[in-house]
């Protein structure tokens, strides 16, 4: 009985000691934190007021801060040389999954360079309308059926034009299907075959979207131009003359015949 009481007393003492230690630790942490804040304020000249994260107007009710200070993602394309070296070493070590990933990264790196060159070659003004720099977009996935895409748009209050150049993309299939089967184009009111700068293409019209011209550029590339609020077919086709289709095709290394 005495032994049991003794054990109980020891356990109680241990609990008290642990509790004391926890509280002591909490107090110590608070002191440390306060000291750190004081030191930071002394260095950076901040005042004692606690900093409140900015809250957007629309989110005031919840009090949850909106993201408005983060820097975003790094958009530097993968290093081609390094990716190829990684692929070689991974392949030698029979790490095929890693080798494949590294090769895909190398392809993305190369495609981004190709895309940026095509982007640079696109005109800054079309039909008197300046391009919207923030909308410029080069996308590559390193995967065959998605491929490389380059997008630029031009618009003012009245008219809008955009061009998408796709390389190694499934977007090519539908246009080629139309071109290979004239019945598709002749049987539909809003779609027809046209020739632009010596390239065969497909011109579509819809009341809502305006004109859309799809021109396959060789085996694996296509340029798709959309023109909104142009008076008629000839005005829309004239817009497409602003884009050097043969030059784009050459830059993408595609053969036409």
């Amino acid at each position: 009985m005495l032994k049991l009481q003794l054990k109980g007393a020891v356990a109680l003492a241990l609990l008290c000691f642990l509790n004391y230690q926890t509280e002591a630790q909490a107090i110590l942490n608070k002191v440390k934190s306060a000291a750190k804040n004081k030191a930071a304020n002394a260095i950076f000249g901040d005042n004692d007021a606690p900093s409140t994260p900015s809250v957007s107007e629309g989110d005031e009710r919840s009090g949850r801060p909106m993201n408005n200070t983060s820097g975003g993602l790094i958009t530097t394309p993968p290093d081609v040389g390094k990716s190829i070296a990684t692929a070689e070493s991974s392949f030698s070590a029979k790490k095929y999954g890693e080798a494949r990933y590294a090769l895909q990264q190398a392809i993305v790196g190369i495609e981004m360079e190709m895309g940026n060159k095509v982007m640079e070659s696109l005109p800054e003004k079309v039909a008197g309308i300046a391009f919207v720099k923030e909308s410029d977009k080069v996308t590559s996935t390193g995967m065959a059926f998605v491929g490389l895409t380059i997008f630029r748009e031009y618009y003012n209050n009245d008219k809008a034009i955009d061009i998408t150049v796709a390389n190694n993309s499934s977007l090519l299939m539908s246009a080629n299907m139309y071109l290979a089967n004239p019945a598709y184009t002749s049987g539909q009111e809003n779609i027809k075959s046209v020739t632009v700068q010596g390239f065969k293409g497909v011109l579509e019209f819809s009341e809502y979207d305006g004109y859309k011209l799809s021109v396959p550029l060789g085996q694996t590339s296509i340029a798709i131009m959309k023109m909104v609020n142009f008076a008629d077919e000839s005005a829309a086709l004239k817009v497409s003359d602003a884009f050097d289709l043969a030059g784009i095709q050459k830059q993408l290394g595609d053969k036409i015949n």
């Binding site: 081609v80 040389g81 392949f91 029979k94 999954g97 190369i110 190709m114 065959a144 694996t220 290394g253």
Partner: protein
Amino acid sequence: MKKIYILALIVTVFGLTASAQNDFTASTATAMNEYKAGNLEEARFALQQSLAEVDKEIGKEILEILPKSIAGFSFVEANDNVSGNSSSFGGLFVHRDYGDTTKSVAIDLMDNSPMLAGINSLLAMPMIMNSSDGSQKVVKVSGYKALLQRKDATQAVGGYTLQIPFNQSLFTVDFDGAFTESEVTSAANAMPISEVAKLTY
């Protein structure tokens, strides 16, 4: 005589391995040279060739781990097929056949498959996928959701197709002949799906 056969086999295996290594090394070297010369399209083409070589090696490893027999049927070695497609639709493709003319099983693995999006969206809606006529339903195979379809819904016993998406791959097992659903699911559960998924990741 036996020693000669073994020696020939070793030479063949090493020869093939060396050939794959050589093809890979040659195409990556070409890619690097073309890239340095500013010929971006040529560099990309060479890298796609390298990618196809890597895919072929992955495919060979997958064939190694696939079962030698399914539902009592041995595999048909002559029909084993691996291809690494450097462009267009589908990167890696692996095929293996089992059985004979009356009952057969075929495994197809398609990696980087554009068909994957369709299957995945269907699997996300099991209420829609479980059809009332019993022709298709969502099942689990080795922990993976899969779409099981009966080829002829009017028959209690018949062919089945099982489609299992994972990573960027679509693993399809086609059961042709008088198979029951339990035979199909137990055969599928005996397959090393998780290991295949690891190899294609």
